[in-house]
Symmetry: C2
Subunit: 507 residues, 2 copies
């Protein structure tokens, strides 16, 4: 996330203090139940390792608190040093030897060109077993009678203002999803519609699901049908919120090592369906038979302008007298008082002229365009996890109320189409998408996969590497350059390539 946060990086680097022990996700059960006869859960990310360089004490704190790379990269200390080299920018992938990622998923990453001390992207790929919490009959003493569930999980976390939030999310978000799904294990395996009401924790008997009408409210003549799919969506949404709340608590307790925030793009495969949840500016697309299917959209100050403005309008105290919720095409100057300038408010998509008044001279809540768009002149994404201590530059005004931790979840039914080995789901952080687009990625998918045998499981890693290399470019003319001589991405770049042609049959 290049240049997306103006204040907090310096903030973090300059903060000193001791290095307390890493949090151990105190809000989640630390034991991971083993599945009865399913793929074992890939080990969680390793504890933070000290960096190889001995920097200033302030930097050491950041290093200790946040530097790690995904376990599945199986990096040796020497490999870790190479992965941390901003000059060489070697592309990292899981080794050919050893166990492959589930579904033969391809992965590649590269560190930024120097914009932050370490790679602030993190990744996670897991097979997660979900054991039912208890029987749905309502007796808490009675264990769940059904088999548990497995879900496959991929996550990309693009950190800003420090690597703590991304690292924490990569370790814990899938556990929150697992916890949310535990109540649903029996329900999701029962083909009948989900019960609208369940017994309480105290063992009160559950109610029947027949329609109960109270009074003459005609709008309640029927009950809503809730699908299994929407329960999984709700579980993922709530898991994001709980992850965010846990970050807030950890920050209170442990301070700067969970400093910062992160975009989160995760994929859950469960019972035939792929759920893509995005909060931030990473992106997921499916390339299927050459066709592009967008599986996410980016959340930025531009795409979420009206939501941000509405919040500023309804809760003006959040603007602290320093900002105006109105948008102007450029900063208003004091000498323009009384003149008429173009503006738009939270209700408008068009523009109109308004007479400039004193409070229009305040800094706009949303300003700038494209990669330079900012909320409160500070941050360039509007959804993600963490950022609980992020303040407006030179101010004590918190930004978090404007940032949402809720993802948009899109669902893709894998069973509705017969996928071939060249059909893939590509996830990338903005380091990829800043310098390329869906069509170019689809062309790379075609070019690289056609150079490999369809049953060669290394083809997806080769594709991920090609995508990362194509976005990074090569060092030339005092910078990283693409073949067309444009600047390559100087940001951290991380890419998953998930083949859709045989889910479950690879692992």
């Amino acid at each position: 996330m290049l240049n997306r946060v103006r204040s907090a990086v310096a903030h973090l680097v300059s903060s000193g203090g001791a290095s307390p022990p890493r949090p151990k996700s105190p809000d989640l059960p630390s034991t991971t139940s083993a599945p009865p006869a399913a793929a074992p859960e890939t080990p969680k990310s390793p504890p933070a390792r000290p960096g190889s360089e001995s920097g200033a004490s302030a930097k050491t704190v950041e290093t200790r608190a946040s530097f790690s790379r995904p376990t599945f990269l199986q990096l040796s200390p020497g490999g870790l040093r190479r992965a941390d080299d901003h000059a060489g920018r070697a592309v990292q992938s899981p080794p050919d030897r050893g166990r492959r990622l589930p579904w033969s998923t391809g992965y590649a990453e590269v560190i930024n060109a120097g914009k932050s001390r370490h790679n602030e992207d993190q990744a996670c790929c897991e097979v997660v077993y979900v054991e039912g919490r208890r029987s749905v009959t309502g007796d808490p003493r009675e264990p769940s009678q059904s088999q548990g569930l497995c879900f496959y999980y991929w996550g990309l976390f693009d950190g800003h203002a420090g690597g703590g939030a991304a690292e924490m999310a990569s370790r814990l978000l899938h556990r929150h999803i697992r916890e949310q799904l535990r109540d649903l294990v029996e329900i999701l395996q029962d083909p009948s519609p989900p019960p609208l009401c369940l017994p309480g924790t105290s063992g009160t008997p559950g109610c029947s699901d027949s329609t109960h009408l109270i009074g003459p409210q005609s709008c309640w003549s029927s009950q809503k049908e809730v699908t299994h799919e929407s329960l999984v969506v709700g579980a993922i949404e709530n898991a994001f919120q709980l992850m965010d709340e846990q970050m807030a608590r950890e920050r209170e307790r442990r301070g700067h090592q969970v400093e910062g925030g992160c975009c989160a793009l995760v994929v859950v495969y469960l019972l035939g369906k792929v759920y893509v949840a995005n909060a931030g500016d990473s992106r997921a697309i499916i390339v299927r038979n050459g066709e592009i299917i967008p599986m996410s959209r980016e959340f930025t100050p531009e795409t979420e302008r009206q939501r941000l403005q509405l919040l500023g309008f309804l809760k003006p105290e959040l603007l602290g007298g320093e900002f105006t919720h109105l948008e102007f095409p450029r900063r208003v100057q004091p000498k323009e008082l009384g003149q008429r300038m173009l503006y738009r408010d939270q209700n408008m998509t068009g523009w109109a002229y308004k007479k400039i008044e004193l409070e229009d001279l305040r800094f706009p809540l949303v300003c700038g365009e494209g990669k330079k768009a900012r909320v409160m002149a500070t941050i360039g994404v509007t959804r993600g996890l963490g950022d609980h201590n992020l303040k407006v530059c030179s101010s004590t005004l918190p930004i978090k109320p404007f940032l949402s931790c809720f993802p948009e979840v899109r669902v893709y039914d894998l069973t509705q189409y017969e996928h071939c080995p060249d059909d893939v789901l590509v996830l990338g952080t903005d380091g990829l998408w800043d310098v390329t687009n869906d069509c170019e990625v689809a062309a790379t998918v075609d070019r690289v996969l056609s150079a490999y045998e369809p049953n060669d499981p290394s083809r997806y890693t080769a594709l991920a590497q090609a995508l990362v290399l194509g976005a990074r470019g090569t060092p030339r003319d005092r910078g990283w350059r693409l073949p067309n001589n444009k600047l390559g991405s100087g940001d951290d770049i991380s890419v998953f390539v998930i083949p859709l042609g045989g889910p479950g049959s690879y692992s």
Copy 2:
């Protein structure tokens, strides 16, 4: 708008009082400048005419205050009686004799089957001349140097809880649009980008448009480009808001004859582009070479659930302790306290279980499904004009804060495609769309237009009539029935058919 408002109709009908003179849009200049050499403006809607029936005094008030039909129908007193007949439900169209509507637009309407005393739909079709307000040089004494502008205008207004708002909007909304466009007359005719800043009303000199940067805010390194198109969108958006504010003032001043509210769907054709603005549950589609292009979306408690819930969450005082902002799939019952029920909040698209607490027993802000969905158990649309006095059933809680007067505006560039005489823009109130869909309408377009010569200007009226008849059905089996024996629409039905094949050349 059948059965969409539960309280206010009875409210209105039971209110008595004298019948004050009709408002004469005191907030707008009453003179309409004649265009230099353009099509004359169609006369505005006539003053309300007394109904033919002498009902109870309370009903007479409603009759006098709100009953009128569009002028372009040129109804005689006898014709007006026939148009007001809920049993016969004769389809009304402008007469074949006499002047056609601009572009040979087709129109047809029919009254409801008895759900309200009169037809609560209203319609307007105008050619509006816009004279520039003053020279853009900034000297208010200097008249505008440019030619004025003409726009073509079509509007459908679907009233609820009385006909006053729809009738007022049909008379005045295009004037508000004209007023908003007056500042833009020169700017829209100048191919260079619109100035970001204009001189003030006091004649202060305007500023240049070069970038003015203040301080080191990197997000302001460039100014936004604002298009001519987005100025027209902004003008329409603000016109809707001003119309709504005028209704609030008129209601304060004149009481019940501007009672009620209305959905508004309007089309503005200006300088080659068609702007379709929708606030409510009417719908516009283009049928072009058999292809359907949606030009609006409906705003209902279901489609706007998250906006409504967010407002209730951020401003709980608007819920008055009577409602909860959470949604449940059915009403929660007191005996379910402590159990867990499916719910979703303002951030969720999926569902999850929550333990039922005391405040979950409150009535949900949004409830019901489809045509039975309601905000605060009262109203089934969430955007429109008016409704300033609408209260929750048996309560003093106002509903208006949840209703938005802002339209969504979609733009269609007529110059980007060579249209044939069979390409049309169809506007219909929900009376049409409740019993038919886009595909059936497209099939009717094809069937009816192919039965007429391409240059027969009456074909569009014939098509509008066919659409209205097809939605109304015929009286049979104690109701209005469609050929498939399903119930026809018992609501008011109004349809415009606007040919796209030769804009400007017909009038």
